[in-house]
Symmetry: C2
Subunit: 516 residues, 2 copies
Amino acid sequence: MTKSQNGWVKKVSIPKPSLQNNTADAERVLAALKPEIKSENISIDLDLLRDLPGLVREPNSSLNCILCRKNTHWSLIGLSPGEDPSPITGIAVDLGTSRVVLRLVNLCTGNILAENAFDNPQVSIGPDILTRIHHADHPEGQKELRALIIDGLNREILRLCRNCRLEPERIYLSAVAGNTAMTHLFMGLDPKWIIREPYIPVINRPGLVKAADLGLGLNPLARVFIFPNIGSYFGGDLIAGILYSGIHRRDETTLLVDVGTNAEVVLGNKNWLIACAGAAGPALEGGVTKMGMMAGPGVIEQVAFDPGSKQFQITTIDDLPPVGICGSGLIDLAACLFLSGMLDIRGKLVPDRCHGRIREKEGLKHFVVVSSKTSGTGTDLTISQADLDSLIRSKAAMYTILETISQSVGTTLRDLSTFFVAGTFGSFINPHSAISIGMLPDLPIESYRSLGNSSLGGATRFLADSDHLEEIDRIRDSITYLELNVNQEFMNRFSAAKFLPHTNADLFPSVMRKML
Amino acid sequence: MTKSQNGWVKKVSIPKPSLQNNTADAERVLAALKPEIKSENISIDLDLLRDLPGLVREPNSSLNCILCRKNTHWSLIGLSPGEDPSPITGIAVDLGTSRVVLRLVNLCTGNILAENAFDNPQVSIGPDILTRIHHADHPEGQKELRALIIDGLNREILRLCRNCRLEPERIYLSAVAGNTAMTHLFMGLDPKWIIREPYIPVINRPGLVKAADLGLGLNPLARVFIFPNIGSYFGGDLIAGILYSGIHRRDETTLLVDVGTNAEVVLGNKNWLIACAGAAGPALEGGVTKMGMMAGPGVIEQVAFDPGSKQFQITTIDDLPPVGICGSGLIDLAACLFLSGMLDIRGKLVPDRCHGRIREKEGLKHFVVVSSKTSGTGTDLTISQADLDSLIRSKAAMYTILETISQSVGTTLRDLSTFFVAGTFGSFINPHSAISIGMLPDLPIESYRSLGNSSLGGATRFLADSDHLEEIDRIRDSITYLELNVNQEFMNRFSAAKFLPHTNADLFPSVMRKML
C-alpha cells in the first residue's frame, strides 16, 4: 500500500517568521495546511498550541501535521518533525462481543505494523451481550463493563506498542468497529434502551471523539472514530464490513454475509443496499448462533469422507490428536453424512447406513466421529442427533434469511455472481459443504469469496483515507434495514429450509448431481 | 435587552421514540436543532451523550439546548429542561493586566446578573506585563503565572456565583478579552516571542476552547471564546472594544481611543479600520503610561479654579480629605494652571503667578495643590515640575499618535464628528481639561463619548449573539495595523505637541478663546 492522497498526515514547510511576515505561529502553520486540505475550516488543539513555538522555530521546520476532521471542521492534533524516525500511527479496532482485534497501522504509508487479538474481558460478566446490558442496568455495572473493555484495550495497546518499540503517544488516530451495544459500553453510554421497545440506541453516529475522553491511552490529543450504526441491531462492525467489501461501489448486486454472534446480511450495489440481522425473534433463538466455532488446538476444522474405505479424513488445528469439532468441521461432517446417506433429508441419522458408528446415550443417537483409540481425549468423539438438529435449524435460519432478503427486492439467490462471506465463518467454512447441506445457495464455487475480518478491514481502510468519513456516511444512509418479521411466510420458508438440502431440490442442482 | 434571535440557547421539543421513529436519541435531538441553526454540521459532546437518554425520555421533553460553534461546526454542549428555574448563563471577562472584571450574563435574555472586579493576581510577580513575560522564560514561572490568573478567576467566579445563588455548572459560555500577552499567559502559551523580534505571538485567533482544558471551573463542557489579536501589540481587548463601539458599522469615520497601560487608537468606518498602539519605542517610554490613575478613597479626581478667589475647588473620591491626585485630577489641574497663567506654554511653573503656592524641594519646584491644613495626610499635597513634565510628555505622545494615525489616511482630527474614549480614562477624564492642555483635539465637546469598559462590553456582546463570531473575524481582518515608527517626522510632531496646548495654536481655537 502506498500513502493515500487523502491521508491524515500532511507534510508541510512552515515559513520562518520575520518583521515582514509577522503572522502568529499557529496561523503560519494553518496557512500552510489550508491548501493541502482545501478548506479554511481548521483549528489547532490547545495542548498542541502550548508546544507550537518550540516546534515551528526549529532550524528545519518541515513538519508532519497530523489532522483530524469532524464533518467539515479540521483539527490539527499533532506535529512531528519532518524527518522523525518513529512512525506516526493509527490503530484499527474490531470491537467484538467475544474477541477484540487490534491492528497498528502506519498513517503515512498505510502499512500494517502489527496485530493483536484478545478475548473481550467483558466475557467475565457474561458471554452474551444481553447479560451485559442487564448488568449495565445499574450504573456501577455499566462503569464496570466500560472499565473492563477500556483497561483491556489499554493493556493490549501497550503490549502491541512494546512489541513494535513504539510509544503509545505515537498513536494519533483510532477507528473502532463494533456492534451497537459494544459501542455503547465502550463509550460509556447507557445501553439499556437497545433491548427495550422501541429499541433506540443513544446515538447512531458517534463520529470522532477524543481518545482521552474515552480513557484510551493513546496520544493525549488522539481522536477515535467510532463507526455509525443503523439501529440497535445493525452496528458499526457491519458498516465497516460493507466499506471493506466495496459492495456499495459495485455495479452488480452482491451479497455479504457476516456470521459472528448473529448472522448479518447485506445485499446491494452502488445504487442501493438492503440489510437484515439474524436476530429474528424467539423462533430462531440460538438458531444461527449455536454452531460453536470455538477453535483451539486439536479441534477438528475439516472433515472429508472416502466412500471407498468408508473412512473420514479429519484435519485438526495444529495437527494434534482430535479433541472436539468446531463449526466448519461440523458443517463438513454434516455434508459428508448427508451425501453418503448416513443422514436423511430430514437431517436424522440413518443407523443402518452408519457402518456401526451409532451409539445410544440417554435415549439419544450419537455418531462416533473419532473413536477413543485415536482421539486426543481417550474417549469417543461423538455428535448427537440434538447437535445435528441444532445445526439444521442454524442452516435453515441462514438460508431463510438469505432468501427473504433477496425476495424483498425481487431477486433470487441464484442471480448473484458474487457472495462475500466475512468473519471467522467465512475464513474456515468450505462452501462445498455449506451448499451440500443447503446452508448457502447453490452458486458456482468461485462466486464465494472470503473476506476475513471485514470489520477490522473497514477500520483499517478508515485510517488510510480521510475521504472515508463521507463514504461511511453514504453507506449508512443508503441502507434500508429490513425487519425480519417472523410471520407465517417466514416460518413456511424456514420449514422448507429445514430439509437437506431443501424441500425444493431444484434449488440445489449441484447437490442433487453429487447424490446420484 | 431581549433574547437574541441568534443566541446560544435554543428551545426545542424532542419527539418521543417509537417503533416508527426509531432514530437514536442523539439524532432526534440534532434533527430538532438543525432547522434552528440552519446547519447540518452539528455534533454532541461525549459527556452530554452519557446523560442524554435520561433527559430526552422525561415526560415533557421541551429542552433548552446550549450550543456552541467553531467556524461552521456547531456543538451541543448542554441540555436543560425547558422550564428549569435556574438561569443558563455566560461570563464575560475583561482580562486586564492590572484589573480583571467579570460579568455574569443570562444567555437566554441577555440580562446582566452580576459583576465583580479584582486585581490581577499576577501583579504579585510584576505590575507590568514585561516583568511577567520575563518571569515566564522559565517553564515553572509560566506555570505559576497561569495558575495565578486561573485560580484567581475560579475564586472570583465562585464568589460571583455564590452571590447569585447559582451553581458554576450553570455557566456554559465565556468570552475573554485581554491583551495578547495576558491571553497567552491565560491559555498557558509561551509569551516569550511576543517581546522578541520579530514579535510573533503563538496564535492570532484562539477561537473557542474548552473551559476544562483551560482549568476554569465552569460547566465541564463549557466553552471559552478568546478574542483574537492582530499581533503582539494589538490584543483581543481592543477587538472587543471595537465590537462594542460599533465604529466598524458606521458610515462616518470615527476615532476610538483606549487608554489603559498603553494608549491604543483605532480610526475607521464600515469600510476600513486603521489601528496603532502607543508603545512607540524608547522615545516615549513611560510616555502615555505614567499618569497614575490609581484611584482610591480621598484621591483628587476633579479640580476647578476660581479666577476671582484664586481658589481651587477639588473633588475627592468618597468626599474624604484629599490624600493624592489621580490622572483625571492631574489633567484638570494642569488645565487650570495653564489657563490661569500659572503654567507657561512650555509647561513650566511661573512662580510669580502662583499666588505663593511654589515650594522648592531638592532643587525642584513644587506646586502646593492642598495645604497641610486641609489635606488628609497632614502634609502639603504637591505636584512637582517633574510630574508636570511627565504629564506634558504623556499628552504630547497621545496627541502625536492621534495626529499620526489621522494623517496616515489623509484626514485631520478636526474632521471627526465622534471620538470614543474607552476605559477608566474615558470615564473620568474631563474633555474640556484634556483639550485645554492639548491632549485631545479641539472638537466640540459633544463629539467626545465615553464608552466605559469597552472590552467587557464587547465580551458581553459576544455572549448575546452567535453571529458575532463572524463580525469579530471581519473586524480583525479589516484592521490595518500602523507601526509607529519613531522617525524624524514623528519626533517633530512630538516636539510641537509638547507645548501647551500646541505650537500651532490654530489647532486649538477654543483654548485660545478661553485664554483671552
